[in-house]
């Protein structure tokens, strides 16, 4: 087994992909975003409920795809519950840098999500890791209603 592979598929990540947390419907969601990665068929359906102050009260997802996309969504939902909008957006930015090798130092605020750092050695898998986060950013932009995003420009 190569060390890159072990870094990519850490036990925590494999565990999230096998038993995704916050997986299921959210009937009273304010926003639903369908995220689609047409290059590989990954799908994430993200549902978010906001608090009165605009923070994230509840966040759930359904979908299917590779271990990286499902684990990323699962870990993201765990981390985001209860966060303010500003915090959520900042995390999205830092996570993007984490998996692409961008300038932001993997911040303490990512916690377990730092385990996804192995993705940066696999450029073809970055879209798998960021799909759920793109869906989140769209959810924060629109605040209500339903929409679809894709990792490929339409």
């Amino acid at each position: 087994m190569s060390s890159e592979l072990e870094e990519l598929y850490q036990e925590v990540i494999l565990d999230h992909s096998r038993r995704p947390r916050n997986f299921g419907e959210l009937p009273d969601a304010a926003v639903r975003v369908h995220g689609d990665n047409p290059a590989c068929g990954d799908e994430i359906h993200l549902a978010v409920k906001f608090r009165e102050d605009g923070g994230l009260e509840e966040i759930k997802f359904t979908g299917h795809g590779c271990a990286i996309s499902q684990a990323s969504a699962s870990m993201m939902t765990m981390k985001l519950k209860g966060k303010s909008r500003a915090e959520a957006l900042e995390m999205a930015r830092v996570f993007h840098d984490l998996v692409t090798g961008g300038p932001t130092e993997p911040a303490y605020l990512l916690g377990d999500l730092r385990l996804m750092r192995g993705v940066r050695k696999f450029p073809q898998r970055v879209k798998c890791a960021t799909l759920a986060w793109h869906a989140l950013e769209q959810a924060l932009r629109q605040s209500a209603g339903e929409s679809t995003i894709t990792t490929e420009a339409p």
């Binding site: 890159e4 990519l8 068929g41 795809g65 990286i68 073809q124 798998c128």
Partner: protein, 414 residues
């Protein structure tokens, strides 16, 4: 199909493998196992040398210079056209148009033939197993002309539902376009039978030979097709070159497609007249080196023999299918017999992309995804598959190593 049946040939496959310099590469520190030849094949030294020789000795533009090098380049380019014609069993080199590949060939027919012939209500018959390259060009021309698309269904076992053909091949069908070998299921379609039925119904036929041209003997006159398209890069030639075969009387009835130099007889400011086929369809400076490389690839393949290559492919594929059954949670797609040199499969424990990343780290090049077959994948309820595709330079030992890697992956991901 079993592992022992078609193997007996006198070809020295081990020496042939040494003709491919890239197969000595190491990937992630491991010896490369290249099982993605259905995407593009590797190139033998004979083809690489032909390109180098052309650029070092004969390079010039074709059909226009009056100097020595231009004569040499023109002669080599047109000899390559004859070579392709012979390889496909075409009656004449005038029936061969050089293209960038299969996709361009299909677009040429869809736009130039379809643009002239198709009317609202006409039907193009396709199959559910077509690569996007034999689907999207027809969607575009259907949109423009008001023609409709109709599809021969694919059965659960990956073969075409031929019993539905009589109901589908109605008088509105102007053309039936189908693949010879499916790039994701491996199915070999009964081309001659499909062409005969289409002809009896008054429809033209286009055969997508992308996955077959380098693997099986092809004779367009025996097949009875009107058009056949293929890509050089899947049969040992460079990328960016391919050919369209068109039966002479039909090809010459098709209007010009791309305009430019090379394809004209005379040009005034208002109007131009065009050459006959095939030159009418080759606007601009063609891929001269590519055509020469393609002819070198054909020479190389014919020295081995297409029947021998097909037998070797079949032996490798049968062995792969036998051994894949040993991997836990394995589902193999496609028919159990009459198949090309590829196996598509899904593994319960691992998504195709996780599996291909895992394999790549062991030096094994597989393809994971929808294989440009999104409608087919949806039909089978799959997000995608993993595909191992073989060519004559692959070995039984490589397949056995793949099985070990897949077993490791099953353990790792479950």
């Amino acid at each position: 199909m079993n592992a022992t049946a078609p193997a007996a040939t006198s070809v020295d496959w081990k020496t042939i493998r040494e003709d491919f310099p890239i197969l000595r590469e190491r990937v992630q520190g491991k010896p490369l196992i290249y099982f993605d030849s259905a995407a593009t094949s590797q190139k033998p030294r004979a083809v690489i040398d032909a390109l180098r020789h052309y650029y070092e000795h004969d390079n010039a533009n074709v059909h226009r210079g009056l100097h020595e090098l231009s004569s040499r380049a023109t002669e080599a380019y047109e000899k390559s056209r004859q070579r392709v014609a012979d390889y496909l069993g075409a009656a004449s080199a005038d029936e061969i148009v050089f293209t960038r590949g299969t996709t361009e060939g299909i677009n040429l027919i869809a736009q130039a033939w379809g643009g002239k012939v198709l009317r609202a209500g006409d039907v193009i018959l396709l199959t559910e197993m077509e690569h996007h390259s034999n689907l999207v060009p027809w969607q575009l021309i259907a949109e423009r002309t008001g023609a409709r698309l109709r599809f021969v269904p694919v059965r659960e076992d990956g073969t075409l539902a031929l019993e539905e053909l009589p109901a589908l091949l109605t008088s509105e069908v102007k053309l039936f376009a189908f693949t010879h070998v499916s790039n994701s299921l491996g199915t070999i379609n009964p081309v001659a039978e499909l062409c005969a039925k289409a002809r009896a119904a008054g429809a033209l036929t286009l055969v997508d030979a992308a996955q077959s041209a380098g693997h099986l003997p092809i004779d367009v006159q025996e097949m009875g097709c009107d058009f056949l398209v293929f890509s050089g890069h899947k049969m040992c030639a460079p990328t960016g070159i391919g050919a369209l075969y068109g039966r002479a009387e039909i090809l010459d009835s098709i209007p010009a497609w791309h305009g430019g130099g090379e394809m004209i007889v005379s040009v005034s400011l208002e109007k131009s007249t065009f050459k006959k086929a095939p030159h009418r369809f080759e606007a601009g400076t063609p891929n001269i080196a590519g055509a020469i490389g393609l002819a070198a690839a054909i020479d190389y393949i014919e020295r081995i023999g297409r029947a021998e290559i097909f037998a070797h492919d079949a032996m490798l594929t049968a062995h792969a299918i036998d051994r894949l059954a040993e991997v836990p949670g394995m589902r193999i797609l496609g028919p159990t017999e009459k198949r090309g040199a590829l196996v598509g499969f899904v593994m319960e424990a691992a998504h195709p992309h996780d599996l291909t990343t895992f394999a790549d780290q062991q030096g094994l090049a597989l393809r994971g995804g929808h294989h440009c077959n999104q409608p087919l994948m949806r039909k089978f309820g799959l997000p995608g598959t993993t595909r191992a595709s073989f060519y004559f330079y692959n070995t039984i030992a490589e397949i056995d190593r793949m099985i070990e890697i897949l077993r490791d992956a099953a353990r790792f991901f479950s």
